[in-house]
């Protein structure tokens, strides 16, 4: 690792809030990636007639477990459960419900309040709120990260080309961006969402069409500024190609501005997805989503646990991401790095100043 990156890492670690947020978020995200082992309507592993079965990974039919159906076994079915219990043993996940499991054992009315069984209660369909939150978290973060990656790649490229070459390129590019930004995004999204059957990748593509513009302005400004720097001139005098100059000399300068925006773009992507789901234009009905849970909360105002748990989850997630984003941004800021040394002297100052 180059000394510069070492210093960045040290800067990142020095920001305690961001560093801890990073680990907390990473922990939550990794946990959610293994969501099937935490909240599921299948046992993690069971033994049946002395053989081991892993239903999370492999699908077993009802018939294999002594039933009559050729479809996948329903492990919540009392018959299947009895079959397994009497012929072996089983280990169940912490929460015995998946995001789409309907708990038939609960007594109506639904939504059921939080209790020992559904930790955070259920929604109006008697589905476990915790399970939905867990899966929705995973889906939202993956969606947000992909959208951020795609839109920053497009945005940085467009901004870089406009800023570096300037002139006519810039003029045409800016007008196109302005016209594109003038489209009523929500309506276009709604129309597109009613033309195609929206799934994860369709939504990603549609939202990418509009979310790349956030970065164009900042990156363009940084490139416009930096292309007249003397070290860029010096590189041109050395005969370095435009592409290399952009990548080696100008882009690092634009990175700070880009990184400043990234946490906001990421959070924006997650909120947009939630909003679309809330309005019913988002992911297909069977997928777990914050937005749909929120609309459940709206429909069941007498069941505040739904709204409160979605809100807490969203707020925690967005806050953690912002803290991480801030720390990353500060770590990449060269002035911050220099200031790190100054900060030490200013703490000396704080100690000495009361004497003044």
């Amino acid at each position: 690792m180059s000394p510069l990156n070492q210093r960045r890492l040290a800067m990142f670690k020095a920001n305690r809030r961001g560093y801890f947020s990073f680990w907390i978020f990473l922990g939550l995200f990794v946990l959610s990636l293994f969501g099937e082992f935490i909240a599921n309507d299948k046992p993690i592993v069971f033994s049946y007639h002395g053989d081991l079965f892993f239903p999370v990974m492999v699908s077993y039919t009802d018939r294999e477990l002594g039933g009559v159906l050729a479809t996948e076994a329903d492990y919540r079915d009392p018959f299947i459960r009895k079959q397994i219990e009497s012929n072996g043993w089983s280990i169940w996940p912490l929460v015995p419900f998946a995001y789409d499991t309907i708990d038939w054992d609960l007594q109506p009315p639904y939504p059921a309040p939080p209790s020992g069984r559904p930790w955070l209660g259920t929604d109006g369909l008697s589905t476990d709120t915790f399970a939905i939150l867990l899966y929705a978290f995973r889906l939202s973060v993956l969606f947000g990260l992909s959208l951020t990656l795609i839109s920053s790649l497009i945005g940085v490229t467009v901004g870089a080309l406009q800023g570096y070459f300037g002139g006519l390129t810039d003029l045409i590019g800016q007008r196109v961006v302005e016209i594109w930004a003038g489209l009523p995004i929500l309506f276009v999204l709604i129309i597109l969402a009613s033309v195609v059957e929206p799934n994860f990748f369709w939504l990603l593509a549609i939202l990418s069409l509009f979310s790349w513009m956030a970065l164009v302005g900042v990156v363009r400004a940084e490139f416009l500024r930096a292309r007249n720097f003397e070290f860029v001139r010096a590189a041109r005098a050395l005969g370095v190609s435009d592409l290399t100059i952009m990548r080696r000399h100008v882009l690092p300068n634009a990175m700070v501005a880009t990184l400043t925006y990234l946490p906001f773009i990421l959070n924006g992507s997650i909120t947009t997805l939630t909003a679309l789901d809330f309005l019913g234009f988002g992911l297909p009905l069977e997928s777990p989503s914050f937005g749909r849970l929120l609309s459940q909360a709206k429909a069941n105002l007498h069941a505040p646990w739904i709204g409160i748990s979605v809100f807490m989850t969203l707020a925690t997630m967005l806050t953690l991401l912002i803290f991480v984003g801030e720390a990353v941004r500060d770590a990449f800021d060269p002035r911050r790095t220099l200031k790190g040394a100054l900060d030490e002297s200013s703490t000396d100052l704080m100690e000495s100043s009361p004497g003044v």
């Binding site: 003397e230 001139r233 590189a235 005098a237 005969g239 080696r248 200013s346």
Partner: protein, 527 residues
Amino acid sequence: MSDPFVQVRDLHVRFGSNHAVRGVSFDVAEGETVAIVGESGSGKSVIALSILQLLPYPMASHPKGSVLVGGQEMIGADEAQLRAVRGSQVSMIFQEPMISLNPLHTVAKQIRETLVTHKGLTRNAARDRTLELLEMVQLDDAVRRLGAYPHELSGGQRQRVMIAMALANEPRLLIADEPTTALDVTIQARILELLKKLQGELGMGLLLISHDLGIVRSMADRVCVMTHGEIVESGSTGKIFDEPEHSYTQHLLAAEPKGDPVAWNPHAKPLLSLRDFNVNYKIGKGWFGRRKEFQAVKNLNLEVGEGQTVGVVGESGSGKTTLGLGLLRLLHAEGTITFDGIAVHNLSSKALTAQRKHMQVVFQDPFGSLSPRLSVRQIIEEGLRVHERDMDVNAREERVAEVLSEVNLEPDQMDRYPHEFSGGQRQRISIARALALRPKFIVLDEPTSALDMSVQAQIVDLLRELQHRHSLTYLFISHDLKVVRAVAHYLVVMKEGVVVEQGPAEQVFENPQTDYTKELMTAAFVR
């Protein structure tokens, strides 16, 4: 005789752990000019600011010392007392006239502000007094300038407005912090003349902060020499300049770039020649109107021999930097450029890239010309990666180490980053970058202007030594005639894009032909 107006006794200033000023004492009486000289970072501006208590407290602190202004202690005085002194008894003018004036207010309004605050004048009385002040500082066309905004004025005019503001309340002491550093030499001379005249008329004290020994010598009655926060020597101007006692003063006085250019064979074959060379900037185009252009360099003809140094001098805006960038084809230029028998102006961009190996450039700003995110090694080897593709990692490292030691830097510092070096060292890195490709010709664009005097001399020595060793050809662009005299064989004097005079350096320095050159020479040398 009463006490001097300002008495500074054993003044200490600390910024956190940085002890910027350590025990400084001096007096300034009314009618007297005291100069504080020193290189950047010596703490001279801090002293000026602490007289008016304008330092960023509580970041800054005064562990010890006293500053008496008109018998009143300034350190620890409350805001009301300080305000009564600031701007009315003691005024200050700053280095940068561009940023010291508020760009949103007219000249009249800015001057009126001090008059109304301190003197309680009515609007009309204030207007008359403003006009009077502008006439006093010899701002031409003063009546019309009353309604002007700062951006409509030139640097010299702005500095005159600043002086008028400072004098508005007839202060008893004027602190001038590098009052002319940002100005061109000929304007510098006029502003200094004005300050001296006004001081005589108004009988005020003048505390002059400067790094420029020439200015100090012509202006000051007494001089304090500062280094590292301490006054190492003070005394009358004559004594300091003629019989300096402290070694630092001697070092400072000896630091002016001197010596002669490297010996050069006048019959050497020409390396670079420019014919009918023009550089135009497009400054906007209406939808239907004619293209508007600004001619930055007009019809220049120049021949540079192998191993020769051509000095290009002129004030800011004269087109000297444009000339340098244009002949390297970093800017679009018209006319013929012949370099080593090759018609550079016709080269395709690919052939031009190959040609760049032989023509290099060193820029003025040692902070701006090095990419802050690359290590010194990466900066220097960048050109090698383009032009010497068959060099392997070891050969490149060897070359980087070689050029670093040529510019007197330690090769084992190559993995450090630019901010870890001082201004002079950075400029050496810039030179090393240019040298790495073993060019024949280097454009030096104000290579010494951003550096302290003693460092300037070292860089000039280094450049001459390198020229001697590698028989390099230089185009040396500078506004500083003293530096140019130490390096150039041939001189080109430019004004507003036109060459007003060119000829062998000796001849131009000894016997300038045009009025403009004469004026430049007077401003730079006669003191």
